[in-house]
Symmetry: C2
Subunit: 242 residues, 2 copies
């Protein structure tokens, strides 16, 4: 026989405390601004030490569900900054995840001294060299996106000799320059004649534009503009809380 008492497989105490409080907040039983019981009250209620309830409350605070104020207590935070997690996958991963065949084609690659426009786009001041890459991604041989990218060689010297005719620069960078920060700007344009031809859509058709500017520890790495046919591509962002 097993040694199990009827305690069964209940989670650890601090997790139970955390879940209890979280449930009350999420159901609205404790609305924003509500003061959560003091630690010493929870200690009494759950019959445990203060460190245990402290751990539960600290995690809730780290998750921005509550706010802790010395001497005052802990309070349910009000619906904060409305934000969402936007998944922006590597294009190749995105396409293969859909079960479609990924295709890649290098349109152009140029190594040059940074022009004024390049420097502005990358947000760097000093003169230096850059690699400019233009390429196209396709799914099942249908154009999926065109990419227009600039890489700062001062930050990523090895990009000068990388072979981008086989591997897309995005994937290459992902493997060579981890841990970056980025800013995305999403907008819409209509296809000009060149874009229309590359994406095989009509001139004037809507396109979704993602401009991504990537850096690492205040060091510019790359700036990229991705153009997707607007009616065939969807960016999905899921958002929880607040």
């Amino acid at each position: 026989m097993s040694l199990a008492t009827d305690a069964a497989d209940k989670p650890t105490l601090y997790k139970r405390i955390r879940a209890d409080i979280e449930r009350r907040i999420l159901t609205g039983e404790w609305p924003p601004g509500h003061r959560i019981p003091f630690e010493h009250e929870l200690v009494a209620r759950y019959g445990c030490s203060r460190m245990t309830v402290n751990k539960a409350l600290s995690e809730l605070a780290q998750a921005d569900l509550i706010e802790r104020r010395r001497r005052a207590g802990s309070f349910v935070r009000r619906p904060q900054h409305q934000s969402a997690v936007l998944k922006i996958a590597d294009i190749r991963a995105e396409i293969t995840a859909l079960g479609r065949t990924y295709g890649y084609e290098l349109i152009g690659r140029k190594l040059r001294a940074a022009t004024a426009a390049d420097r502005e786009r990358l947000g760097v001041k000093k003169a230096g060299k850059v690699v400019a890459i233009s390429c196209r991604h396709s799914a099942d041989n249908v154009p999926f996106a065109v990419e227009d990218r600039l890489i700062d060689l001062a930050s990523v010297p090895s990009a000068a000799t990388a072979d981008f005719s086989r591997e897309p620069p995005g994937s290459w960078l992902l493997h060579h320059v981890p841990w970056t920060e980025a800013e995305h700007t999403i907008s819409a344009i209509v296809a000009d004649d060149r874009t229309a031809e590359t994406l095989d859509i009509a001139i004037g058709a809507p396109c979704l534009v993602i401009d991504r500017y990537t850096w690492r520890s205040a060091r510019t790495i790359t700036a990229v503009r991705l153009l997707y046919p607007g009616d065939s591509h969807r960016l999905v962002a899921r958002f929880k809380g607040g």
Copy 2:
């Protein structure tokens, strides 16, 4: 005189430990997959108790920077799901934050039994009543976005009598239905004649589309479609880490 030794205002010990490790990860000194020193090693290095280093490591694990495995140790996580935080503010807040004057205009409001199309859009099966709202937001008297919304009255009965002629439904919902989950879909279209007229742009001009579907504890609340002139609006998403 003050009692301060030259220790000055250094942060607490566990925060220093956490920052030390975080720095090594972010600079690449400890690449993905690298094994972080064992807790007992960090205890020796920092001369503190295990609970203190445990707190530092737990927070790093909660932030998804490291992965902890029993008996094996703690490891730097590799660049995970490429995701970004996308700020999607309440439109009124967004406009006033820009220092512009917010304007709102109710175009139409209808209370009706849910049609088949309504039910599909809201993802509900049972018949019920809905409120359909169409309205326009403007900044400095220039059209900023058109909104087309459906509210499920089964979830938000008070929406039946709310006065949406003064307050935008988004703001009203934000104050009456906190803590929701949502899914956003972003795409691009070109303006049809009606949209063009409402937004005061040319027919065929690009528009950014945000479809937002909101629920709470598996209960549908509202589905909304926002149309922005594509060349004047920008969605900015910032992304940090891996």
